[in-house]
């Protein structure tokens, strides 16, 4: 059962990823990208990590795909993409991808991953939270600072100087 689900998910994910790269229409490309990201969420569900799967859906499909749709719909296509395409580039890309996958695959297989226990119980998200607040607290603080500074930067960039204070909606 799980094997067939895994196979179906793999076909959907990889197939829609190829479609997202190859299709001419940008809208269809972004839809295919959404399907790919949802497929990755499905992998997380198969791996007994519903917490990550739900975040994958709400962050990647719900926010990043929306951002891509925004960009595609509000900007003329000719302005952002100037597609240079020939056979040699495509084959070089495929070759590069195969080499990369081969390299990463050998590293993963050689890393002792096979000896891992696959029947261990599901990790509770509360345990992850406890770990974040105790052992990994420096990492959490650094992440918080990075996010806060990026939000502050985004707000500063988005603030328009040419709008008078009395013209703002408040």
């Amino acid at each position: 059962m799980v094997d067939s689900v895994f196979l179906a998910l793999s076909v959907i994910t990889i197939g829609s990823a190829i479609v997202a790269l190859e299709v001419r229409s940008l809208i269809y490309g972004s839809i295919a990208l959404m399907i790919t990201l949802s497929g990755v969420a499905g992998f997380f569900l198969l791996l007994d990590a519903p917490f990550v799967a739900m975040f994958q859906l709400s962050v990647y499909v719900g926010s990043i795909a929306v951002l891509i749709l925004f960009t595609v719909m509000l900007v003329r296509r000719e302005l952002i993409f100037n597609k240079v395409e020939d056979k040699r580039r495509r084959y070089a890309g495929i070759g590069l991808m195969l080499a990369l996958m081969l390299g990463i695959g050998t590293i993963i297989i050689g890393s002792g991953l096979k000896t891992m226990d696959t029947n261990s119980p599901m990790v509770d998200y509360k345990k992850i939270g406890e770990d974040f607040l105790t052992y990994y607290s420096p990492a959490l603080i650094v992440m918080g600072l990075i996010l806060a500074s990026s939000i502050t930067g985004a707000m500063t960039l988005a603030r328009r100087e040419d709008v008078m204070d009395d013209q703002r909606a408040n």
């Binding site: 809208i27 839809i31 959404m34 519903p50 917490f51 739900m54 975040f55 859906l57 709400s58 499909v61 719900g62 926010s63 795909a65 929306v66 749709l69 925004f70 719909m73 509000l74 998200y125 703002r168 909606a169 408040n170």
Partner: protein, 433 residues
């Protein structure tokens, strides 16, 4: 006499009914039963009560009510029943349909109008059925330059996403279609699909009104999604769970609205924006852009979108009840099932009939459902009310409200929740464990 059928005779009508019943029975016994036998030949039949289940036995049980009830009771607890009938689609669709009718009458009363009146003699209660038949019989027109696959998929995906949202709402103890440990996160994930569907169908219709409406929907929903998520974190902090059923159980003594009222208010305001209702109905502002992103839909495609919208309305009202108003918790007002019927059966004159398998639903579940429905209907009425009262806000004011004020209030709410927890008012040693 009706003008549609001037030659109508009641006797002929009854005779035709008997004719129909005769032919149905004949065809069933000559064609239907052999087909059933052929199918059952390949299916492994269960053994129930020591008897081997044959098709005759199954039909006998269905004909005899005293033997049918245990089967019905077993069926009620299956997943199919939960998805299709009770906490799932059927229940939500009935509530949604009632909402459409009540909305029209309610707004009419607010504005001193009459509302639907003629359909069905009594206060126009059949208006909704008439509207449904009208939508089903109308032609589905697809714009010539539309992107057909996306345009067709839009309404289906919308109803699907709304149904997924409905399936996460717990109605009574144990009565929920899907009960994942990360239920609230699943709700956030489902809500994230609605702006995508709106903007894709708007783009696919290839009309300027739909496109303007779709972009408005996208801007507005994205702006209000963040305060929506943040406003619910207060409840998660206090109850210590993301499972919606656990959140309801944690409110046995106090509803969370008494501790985090600001979060409840922020969530209630974001509901309007996510549902595209007045005062945030800019995506389908009928006086500016025809019907916004719904402009090009006709017939049953529009009907599906309406169904999805009202399912979503029910789901949001249910989520508000589950998170802030205590869900199914309430005083036990449902009378217990009379013991006489269970032990002695029903006696009418000389005849006594015993019905094993009663009661079909336990008292706790019926009481919980009653309180949930009362609270949900109250919240739905509160959501409907502004449509008769408020004007539409300007786009920049709506976005300003979402991005600045509501996010700020939601953060204040989170700090209040943390303060309650760390000051010891709630949690270990406090009011609630």
């Amino acid at each position: 006499m009706s003008t549609i059928a001037p030659q109508f005779r009641l006797s002929r009508f009854i005779a035709s009914l008997f004719d129909l019943i005769f032919w149905v029975l004949l065809i069933f016994s000559l064609v239907g039963l052999p087909i059933v036998f052929i199918i059952l030949f390949y299916i492994k039949l269960p053994v129930i009560n020591g008897q081997f289940m044959t098709p005759y036995l199954a039909l006998t049980w269905i004909a005899d009510p005293s033997r049918t009830l245990p089967i019905v009771k077993a069926f009620i607890h299956t997943t199919i029943f939960k998805v299709v009938v009770f906490p799932g689609f059927g229940f939500a669709a009935i509530l949604a349909a009632a909402t459409i009718f009540i909305e029209r009458k309610f707004l009419a009363k607010i504005q001193l109008r009459v509302g639907p009146l003629y359909c069905g003699k009594i206060e126009g209660i059949l208006q909704l059925m008439g509207d449904g038949f009208k939508l089903m019989s109308k032609e589905i027109i697809i714009p010539a330059k539309a992107d057909k696959p996306i345009f067709w998929m839009g309404p289906l995906l919308f109803v699907g996403a709304a149904g997924a949202f409905v399936s996460l709402i717990p109605v009574a103890p144990g009565w929920v279609v899907a009960n994942p440990n990360v239920g609230l996160l699943a709700v956030f994930a489902v809500i994230g699909f609605f702006p995508i569907i709106a903007v894709l169908t708007a783009w696919a219709a290839n009309s300027k009104w739909t496109f303007i409406g779709g972009l408005r929907a996208l801007h507005q929903m994205v702006a209000f999604e963040i305060p929506l998520i943040l406003s619910l974190l207060g409840v998660v902090i206090l109850s210590g769970s993301l499972n919606l059923s656990h959140i309801v159980e944690s409110q046995q003594h106090f509803w969370w609205i008494t501790f985090v009222p600001i979060g409840a208010i922020v969530f209630f305001i974001t509901i309007f924006a996510e549902l595209e209702r007045v005062p945030f109905d800019l995506p389908e502002a009928e006086s500016e852009i025809v019907a916004g992103w719904l402009t090009e839909f006709s017939g049953m495609m529009y009907g599906l979108i309406q169904l999805g919208t009202y399912l979503k309305l029910y789901a949001f009202a249910g989520l508000f009840v589950v998170l802030f108003l205590g869900g199914w918790n309430g005083p036990m007002v449902w009378p217990p099932f009379p013991q006489d019927i269970i032990t002695h059966g029903i006696t009418i004159g000389p005849v006594t009939a015993k019905f094993p398998g009663l009661p079909l639903f336990d008292q706790e579940m019926l009481n919980g459902t009653l309180w949930f429905v009362i609270k949900t209907v109250g919240v739905i009425l509160l959501i409907l009310l502004p449509r008769g009262v408020f004007p539409r806000v300007r786009m920049d004011i709506a976005l300003h409200t979402g991005w600045y004020k509501l996010i700020g209030l939601a953060f204040i709410n989170i700090f209040i929740a943390l303060g309650l927890l760390y000051a010891g008012v709630l949690g270990p040693g406090g009011l609630l464990q």
